[in-house]
């Protein structure tokens, strides 16, 4: 995909979360956003997802400018992006299958049977079919995240966004979920991941962006960033995160 951010800024009250973010990727498949907490990674991801409106700046994906000023245009943009949050993705009153069917039926205009089939196929593809009729309350954290990913994928999005998808999971479930994301990357899907899992970022990402205090401090290939960080902030961050 082509991704370009031009002068994106966002403040919450007096706190400037993103400061004139400008970056241009003519062709990137998977992008990892890393950095210290509070650095603006999630906010940036949410802006790309169309869930947050930047104070200034332009965003274009696949050479299409995202129109932040019209809610209808923004909603249309959101419909073609699959987002997976850290937690609470699924609706607790619906089963896994129904959770997948809801966007297909109500947003993308599928007929009920077609939605059911597509939803089931997505679950089967990720070996989740035996959980189809369970409610989220009956699933483990890893299973819930995988169902959430399946839901994001089922709508055949142009882009997949992951906001710290494994931060709330234990190591075993983390591996389950990361495996699934890697599978998606191998399939050729475009994705952006905000993560603290450096090993994962190394394996999955084409490009890594290091964000701290609302500014992009480093951009590069995983090997460049992890082996040879240019800035002191990045070096300090990596040494803390990779310590254990």
């Amino acid at each position: 995909m082509q991704l370009s951010l031009e002068n994106i800024s966002k403040s919450f009250g007096t706190h400037r979360v993103l400061d004139a973010i400008t970056v241009d990727f003519p062709k990137v498949h998977s992008l990892a956003l890393i950095g210290p907490s509070g650095g603006g990674k999630s906010t940036l991801l949410r802006i790309i997802a169309g869930l947050e409106i930047p104070d200034t700046g332009n965003l274009s994906i696949n050479n299409e400018l995202v129109n932040f000023h019209k809610e209808t245009a923004l909603r249309e943009h959101r419909r073609h992006i699959g987002v997976v949050f850290q937690a609470f993705n699924l609706f607790p009153h619906l089963s896994a299958l129904e959770n997948l069917m809801l966007p297909l039926e109500k947003v993308h205009g599928f007929v009920r049977e077609a939605a059911c089939e597509a939803a089931f196929a997505a679950l089967r593809r990720f070996r989740l079919e035996k959980h189809a009729h369970k409610k989220p309350g009956e699933l483990s954290g890893g299973q819930k995240q995988r169902v959430a990913i399946a839901r994001a994928v089922a709508i055949k999005p142009r882009l997949l966004l992951f906001d710290e998808p494994t931060s709330a999971l234990d190591p075993e479930m983390t591996a389950e979920v990361l495996d699934m994301i890697e599978e998606l990357k191998e399939e050729g899907r475009d994705l952006i991941v905000v993560t603290h899992e450096m090993g994962f970022a190394r394996v999955v990402a084409d490009k890594v962006v290091f964000l701290a205090d609302g500014k992009i401090l480093e951009i590069g290939n995983p090997e460049e960033i992890f082996q040879n960080p240019q800035t002191e902030t990045c070096r300090a961050f990596l040494s803390r995160v990779l310590k254990y």
């Binding site: 909603r75 249309e76 987002v83 949050f85 609470f88 607790p92 009153h93 966007p103 947003v107 309350g137």
Partner: protein, 253 residues
């Protein structure tokens, strides 16, 4: 520690009877102390009046329930509206209605408002007054139910591209209903009992009929105990029905 086993049916039945027996004991002692001469036959003659009154109460309460739920839902949404005058209007409505006695509201509605709007039929006035009264309480119940849905769910709904209306219908409402039903049923039971106050404007409902029988027969307890029983017959099933609904819609959040 041993896992707790569900108590046997025999023990549950026995405990229930023991509880009833204790209550019966307390009441019989109170009545015995009164040395009252019961006059059930005198009251039995008027059984038709009781039945009629009871039916009128059912009809009034049912109508008021529908209208008040509609009013409650409207004001609950208005309370969250972005249009400020509407939001404040519903706030004032709720605070004033909940803060004043139904008795006063009935009198004002009947003698002032109905007169001004030339509503002739006192039954219509009765239903409207009850609905406006109950609607205020219901709107708070519905609002609390809607607001209990976590913000993360609204975010999720936004992320998959649902409109506000769709979010309300497919995400908020099904979950809110679980929160709303128990207090709503409680409100219906209150409504049925509150309808007894409509007797002051001469509506021929259950309580008024019981009062009339009392004035014919001077048998106060025999007139009013059936009244209590009649209301209990209406409110008890509602309570049991809600409990079964609660269990059916149960899920973990």
């Amino acid at each position: 520690m041993q896992p707790q086993q569900s108590p046997s049916f025999a023990w549950k039945a026995l405990s229930f009877l023991a509880a009833l027996a204790l209550l019966a004991l307390i009441f019989s002692f109170s009545f015995y102390h009164l040395a009252y001469r019961w006059n059930w036959r005198g009251v039995w003659i008027y059984r038709q009046k009781f039945l009629q009154g009871w039916l009128v109460t059912i009809v009034l309460s049912s109508c008021a329930l529908f209208v008040s739920t509609a009013i409650g839902a409207l004001f609950a949404l208005a309370r969250r509206s972005r249009f400020l005058p509407l939001r404040y209007f519903s706030r004032i409505y709720v605070e004033v209605i909940r803060g004043t006695p139904l008795l006063v509201q009935i009198l004002i509605f009947f003698y002032v408002v109905a007169d001004a709007f030339a509503i002739e039929n006192r039954y219509v006035v009765g239903v409207l007054t009850l609905s406006v009264f109950s609607g205020a309480y219901i709107s708070e119940v519905i609002r609390a139910g809607i607001e209990s849905i976590g913000a993360s769910q609204l975010e999720s709904a936004r992320a998959i591209g649902l409109t506000h209306a769709q979010t309300l219908r497919y995400v908020i409402f099904p979950q809110a209903i679980r929160q709303i039903l128990p207090p709503l049923a409680g409100q219906f039971a209150s409504l049925i009992k509150d309808s007894s106050l409509l007797s002051i404007i001469g509506i021929n409902e259950f309580a008024l009929n019981a009062q009339e029988v009392n004035s014919y027969t001077y048998s106060t307890l025999e007139s009013f105990l059936p009244l209590a029983l009649g209301y209990l017959i209406l409110t008890l099933p509602i309570s049991l029905w809600t409990q079964s609904l609660e269990t059916r819609h149960r899920f973990e959040t």
